[in-house]
């Protein structure tokens, strides 16, 4: 006869499917086992003492966060951020161009490109997974093939930096604006867009001080299987700043 498995709470066969009754040791056996048993306190107390000492050392030395239950204590949530598009201007290459139509097309082009720029700055400055590891491969996906080597060489200017994970505890967006100039070919197709950007974020260092991260410049983009950056001119002018003051009405994403 095959015993039907008992409905159990636990998936472990040891705990839920066993049909054998527990072996009852006799007094002699129990005494024998008890004689060789090491008390739990013998292991637990030293471990607890070690833990307390280490925690004290960390706290007194102003060290890193004390993780709970083995976690690293870091928040990997990506702050929401969207640039504010201030203008989109059209530049014609024919004398009798319909400027109103081109301007409308330039605005559409700006809408097509802006998500790329949003993603670029999010990946470059705001995504903790990227800056903690110093891995900005996603940033370079926005660049045309010819521009990638130069972008990679400029990683410290274009991103939070390869060692940002060692320096920063948190980075939050402050504000960002874009202005577009779109050059149209003689057939009124958008050919080249120049995006003038202003981006500000606030980084909290591990020592509790704050730095305002400021990036200004221009990206030239062309529609090569999607809008990609073919040229860039970027200036960083970071500076020390005070801790941000909480404001219930402040927009976290743009200005």
């Amino acid at each position: 006869m095959v015993a039907a498995p008992l409905p159990g709470r636990y998936p472990s066969r040891v705990l839920s499917n066993s049909t054998k009754p527990p072996v009852q040791a006799n007094r002699t056996e129990r005494a024998s086992r008890k004689k060789g048993r090491t008390p739990i306190a013998l292991f637990a107390i030293p471990a607890a003492i070690v833990a307390v000492i280490v925690v004290l050392i960390l706290v007194l030395s102003g060290g890193a966060d004390i993780p709970i239950l083995g976690g690293n204590g870091e928040d990997d949530e990506v702050p929401a951020f969207d640039f504010n598009v201030k203008k989109a201007s059209a530049v014609a290459t024919v004398g009798d161009a319909d400027l109103a139509a081109l301007t409308a097309s330039a605005e559409q082009t700006s809408q097509d490109i802006t998500p790329t720029i949003d993603d670029l700055f999010t990946n470059a400055f705001l995504d903790p997974t990227n800056w903690r590891e110093g891995d900005y491969e996603e940033v370079f996906e926005a660049f045309a093939e010819d521009a990638v080597p130069a972008a990679q060489q400029s990683v410290e200017t274009l991103t939070l930096g390869a060692t940002a994970g060692d320096l920063f505890e948190d980075v939050e967006p402050d504000k960002g604006s874009l202005a577009y100039d779109v050059l149209f070919d003689p057939e009124a197709n958008p050919d080249t867009a120049v995006v003038t950007f202003h981006f500000v974020a606030v980084g909290e260092r591990k020592d509790g001080t704050f730095v305002k991260l400021v990036s200004d410049g221009q990206f030239f983009l062309r529609d090569i299987d999607g809008w990609t950056i073919t040229a860039f001119d970027v200036t960083r002018s970071d500076r020390e700043t005070q801790p941000p003051t909480p404001s219930p009405s402040a927009s976290p994403s743009s200005s």
């Binding site: 083995g70 060692t163 860039f232 970027v234």
Partner: protein, 322 residues
């Protein structure tokens, strides 16, 4: 099966120690790295990339100025302004060589005539063929404009800053300038480029001044681009809106980026030398054949002129104060 209490105690203790050790290591690792890493340096940083051409192969462009008035078709008038523009991308240098409009030359398929008539007889293609036959050079592109296009192009970039080399007072062209750096509107730039009556070398001097306008444009373009790269679109847009050219837009953009790497003082501006004469009642220019051959062959290899092959400036007597 049960776990013996002793083993359970060992396992628990081991887990506890591992947890504490793991937590401690996990917590201290970043702090140790931060202590070992250099401090965050706050200082301005700059990064740029432009898709400039950097090959050693020179680029040859024939710049054609038609004497078409505002109501006339540009391509069927006379080419009263002709310049060879060569760019050496690798060396970030350029050369401008003016061709006197009255140069008496062989027009392919049309016999001997003044070079400016090539445009009338065969449009820009015949002008290119004529200059190619004259110099032995092969042109990559041509660009052409008339009076109205030239003015509008200059106005489209909000004027041209020119260091006028000497005073001008010419009623025919309406060129009235004091020497010195000044911003010329489109009509003033046209007047500056048209003036020949108060120049000792006449059309030779005028051709050099037209080259000076191009050099000034390059310098201003570079300056504006450096300050605000988006200005490139304004320049390209103004150029294409007022010029007929064989340059496709994408190649023009690449050429424009390449132009940003050329310094104004790295451009050599000369005019083919020659003398005036009469042929069949026509007042013509007979080009100095030795200089023509020397300059042409010198340009052919790298687009640049060796110092020893640079001819005297036709405006030398004015700029030297003589």
């Amino acid at each position: 099966m049960t776990i013996a209490p002793r083993r359970r105690a060992c396992v628990l203790a081991a887990l506890l120690v591992a947890w504490v050790a793991g937590s401690v290591l996990g917590a201290t690792r970043p702090a140790e790295r931060a202590a070992a890493a250099p401090l965050f340096q706050i200082e301005p940083a700059h990064a740029e990339f432009a898709p400039v051409l950097d090959g050693s192969q020179p680029i040859f462009v024939l710049v054609i100025g038609s004497d078409a008035r505002p109501d006339q078709p540009v391509e069927s008038q006379r080419a009263d302004s002709l310049h060879i523009l060569t760019i050496n991308p690798a060396r970030h240098k350029a050369t401008i060589v003016g061709i006197p409009r009255d140069a008496y030359v062989e027009l392919p398929g049309s016999g001997q005539n003044k070079i400016n008539t090539a445009l009338f007889f065969g449009g820009p293609d015949l002008v290119v063929a004529t200059v190619e036959q004259l110099t032995g050079l092969t042109f990559d592109y041509w660009a052409m404009t008339g009076f109205a296009g030239f003015e509008a192009m200059i106005d489209g970039v909000e004027g041209l800053v020119v260091d006028v080399p000497f005073a001008m007072d010419d009623q025919a062209s309406r060129a009235f300038f004091e020497p010195g750096v000044q911003r010329l509107a489109g009509n003033d730039a046209l007047a500056f480029g048209r003036n020949r009556h108060d120049l000792p070398a006449g059309d030779f001097g005028r051709s050099e001044n037209q080259g000076l306008l191009m050099v000034s444009a390059l310098g201003q373009f570079k300056k504006e681009y450096t300050k605000d790269p988006s200005r490139m679109l304004i320049w390209v847009g103004s150029f294409l809106s007022n010029v007929q050219t064989s340059l496709p837009l994408d190649e023009l953009m690449t050429l424009a980026f390449t132009g940003t790497a050329i310094n104004q003082n790295a451009v050599t501006n000369v005019v083919f030398p020659g003398g005036t004469g009469m042929v069949g009642g026509l007042s013509v220019v007979q080009l100095d054949q030795t200089a023509l051959a020397t300059i042409s062959s010198d340009l052919a290899d790298d687009g640049l002129l060796k110092k020893k092959n640079i001819p005297p400036s036709p405006n030398a007597s004015l700029t030297s104060g003589e």
